[in-house]
Subunit: 204 residues, 2 copies
DNA sequence: TTAATATATGGACCAGCGGTCAAGTTTGTC
DNA sequence: GACAAACTTGACCGCTGGTCCATATATTAA
């Protein structure tokens, strides 16, 4: 009995190195090319590994994009859970929502192609209408947050539905275009208007 | 000088027959299968024509989906332009918007797979990030309508942006799922809440 | 150090996709 | 009938995401 009692089993050193190489290569390619041009094979080549390795590590194209996304979202996640207001706990739901959605817009703008690629991956995958419908943990957690804040401010509405609607915005083509161009302000302003209308609150 | 003075040139009889056969076959397949399983080749086979014919008639997979969509949208278009209120002219912007969006949701529910297929077609096409970004005339017309009504009720906000956001909802996976399942009411209710928040109006 | 074993690797291979095109067929017109 | 224009066709192309497994490598136990 050594260190493996509680660990599933460690990832081998070379495997970990390759995982990083693949993630960094995908990142780089997505910075330079539209998502539908970033095929798994190209990522593999850029990372200096075989195509099979990518699938080994990430399961599928979707899995790769998800992993990349998770990396980026981790920071925001933490700020929401324990950071200072208005993003973190302490402010009213309207302010928190506006702040959160602005942050999401900014994140999407910084990673425009990634967002699109992730969407593209889902749509392209063999089982678009299968089990893993919204098994995307990032989406689930964003949705829970938004939905919770809406319910807090407006217990009379279908908060889950409206949360889906607000987040849906991110995948809209014309808006994704703005984001890819690095202009999240317009989206953030749109969110603010809708939220203020929904939850009341001063301003306006 | 005969009948061809003003006509571009009529479509040949066999061509018109095939066009219909293709549209009906695609319709039928989309009723029964998820969009990513409805390939152009399958549509062609079901219609009893060669694959090339489909491309000849519709240019691309996207073109085919667009044609199908246009068929369905024509009726709504007309009701909006000259039908009775609250859909047609005559009612206040909030009522018209709520009515219009409910109608769009219903249409999307009746044609759930088609909507998804259309989206799928755009994302999959070779030039996702090209010119024809929103050359989709149906989307453009819906957007113009929504955006106009918002501007009418709230001249102080970025109506075009918010219109994009509202319409973006339709392509959101979890919501598209509801629609495919034939349940547009929840979406319509969500629209109503957001619009009332945006444009004021009694209710609440 | 070595032997044993679990893990990782890479690229040929697969079925399928959207899309093209040259050759053959059908239609409408005079 | 003859003729040109319009239409049809399916083999073909490049490419995709995903599978497979013989081979190579890291790790651990002896």
């Amino acid at each position: 009995m050594g260190k493996n009692d509680r660990m599933e089993r460690r990832e081998r050193a070379d495997a970990a190195r390759n995982r990083q190489a693949i993630l960094r290569a995908a990142e780089e390619l997505l910075r330079r090319h539209p998502p539908e041009q970033v095929s798994v094979e190209r990522v593999a080549a850029a990372a200096g590994v075989g195509k099979g390795t990518v699938f080994h590590r990430f399961g599928s194209r979707t899995g790769l994009m998800l992993a990349l996304m998770a990396e980026r979202a981790r920071e925001l996640e933490q700020a929401v859970a324990e950071g200072p207001p208005p993003l973190g706990p302490g402010a009213g739901p309207a302010e928190r929502l506006v702040a959160f959605l602005a942050e999401v817009a900014a994140l999407a703008a910084r990673n425009g192609n990634l967002m699109a690629a992730h969407e593209h991956a889902i749509v392209t995958s063999k089982s678009a209408a299968e089990q893993p419908r919204e098994a995307n943990p990032i989406y689930v957690s964003w949705h829970r947050h938004v939905s919770g804040l809406i319910a807090e401010g407006r217990p009379d509405v279908d908060a889950e539905q409206i949360a889906h609607m607000l987040l849906g915005t991110l995948h809209m083509e014309p808006i994704a275009g703005q984001l890819r161009a690095g202009k999240p302000e317009r989206l953030a302003a749109g969110f603010a208007v809708l939220i203020r209308g929904l939850l009341g609150e001063g301003g306006r």
